[in-house]
Subunit: 253 residues, 2 copies
């Protein structure tokens, strides 16, 4: 890496005013020149959605002191695309997404706007990390998160975690004193069991709220769920080739 300051693109899915992105920016700016392009409204659960049928807006943001920042009307993935093509005008050295208010461990990665933003960067060939905190509260305490972000960035810049990669980092809801460090692991094979709440509107029409219970039947010790339960921050290296090679090899048409 050259001596110039690395350019660090920061985005998220909870929106530019969330506490989690403020924590991420605070740590990231110690490691390089931070540029923020984040949604102007919450985008949780957007997965890898992109905006096709309507145009996108990008507005200079005053949310962060001394940091170049933009609010975007689109999804987290739109933010990364716009940042590369219109704001930075090329690839940043690294893209950090989050810190998300709520878990993106295990199957949650599939629904996650936080991780999709990071994945979009990775597809562009940009080293990328998504950070998520197992505390949904808007006013959650991000002290441990800041430590974990710094730990991950240090390990990446030193090459202990390969730079040319995509990582899904989840942070347990514990105190800094209890925290045991980073644990590299795989995505647990868990899922949500849906349970829609049924309601009636004032006109008597039915509507539904999506709710559910997280079910983890994967009890092995090499998973992100195990790491989080045992007070580690989980670090899952992630890929975007979704081919099931094992099945592919076995099929003879």
């Amino acid at each position: 890496m050259s001596k110039r300051k690395p350019v660090i693109l920061v985005t998220n899915d909870d929106g530019i005013t969330s506490k989690g992105i403020a924590a991420l920016v605070l740590v990231a700016k110690r490691y390089g020149k931070v540029v923020v392009v984040a949604p102007d409204s919450p985008q949780s659960g957007m997965g890898h959605a992109i905006t096709i049928g309507k145009p996108l807006r990008l507005k200079k943001s005053m949310v962060f002191k001394d940091i170049e920042a933009y609010e975007c009307s689109g999804t987290p993935v739109d933010c990364v695309k716009l940042a590369v093509d219109k704001v930075i005008g090329g690839k940043p050295d690294i893209c950090l997404s989050g810190v998300n208010h709520g878990s993106n461990s295990s199957i949650n990665i599939i629904y996650s706007g936080t991780m999709s933003a990071a994945m979009e960067a990775a597809i562009e060939g940009i080293p990328a990390v998504g950070f998520s905190y197992l505390d949904y509260a808007a006013d959650a305490d991000f002290a441990l998160c800041k430590k974990v972000v710094a730990d991950v960035l240090k390990k990446m810049f030193k090459g202990k975690l390969p730079m040319e990669a995509l990582y899904n980092v989840n942070i347990p809801k514990i105190s800094i004193k209890e925290y045991k460090g980073l644990k590299v692991c795989r995505q647990a094979n868990a899922k949500w069991q849906e349970n829609f709440l049924e309601r009636k509107d004032p006109m008597g029409h039915t509507y539904f709220w999506l709710t559910g219970k997280f079910k983890n039947s994967d009890k092995k010790k090499d998973t992100d769920e195990y790491a989080l339960k045992n007070k580690f921050a989980s670090v899952v290296p992630v890929q975007f080739d979704l081919t099931n090679y094992e099945l592919l090899e076995s099929i003879k048409l």
Copy 2:
């Protein structure tokens, strides 16, 4: 499988009135009892988005003759969740998504509502297939698609394509006469090169339209892009464990 007719859940991301879903229903009903739960409006590019911040509506639909069908206000993934929890009240025997108007080969799978609906079913343990046609036109001719859907279903019901799986099937824009058959393959390592169009609104504010060029630098012969160029329908077995195991093995913290 028991002698009762298999229950086939059909959904899509272009919306319940699209020509592609009509083609899919037409073929599917030869193989079992079809239940349709599809978005009430186009949802292209929604990826694996789910609806969290607002409630969902489900309305009996009269679009298909003699077929139980519902229009849903949510995303393709919402449709599958609602179908299992509220419409069918359990797992269908198979879930078919599409036929999408436009390609979901290669990296397009990541942005695809069609494939996310199928993936959501697979996460629930339901055999699932997403079908996409390399013709974006609303009035495209779906004759070849119907043949491909029938080919895939026959192979699945006969066990030549394992049932307990998720497949991404793409269909080339060629005539039935030119069609060479199904080809099981992997996701090509291709990507989109973004190019946002910049416009001004009547108030003088800038807005952007997402456009781009598809770039395939993966020239090997075992990819979906190769199959499609060579007049096969591509069949990629898909997984939702996104762990990069190769990288995982190599990291020592």
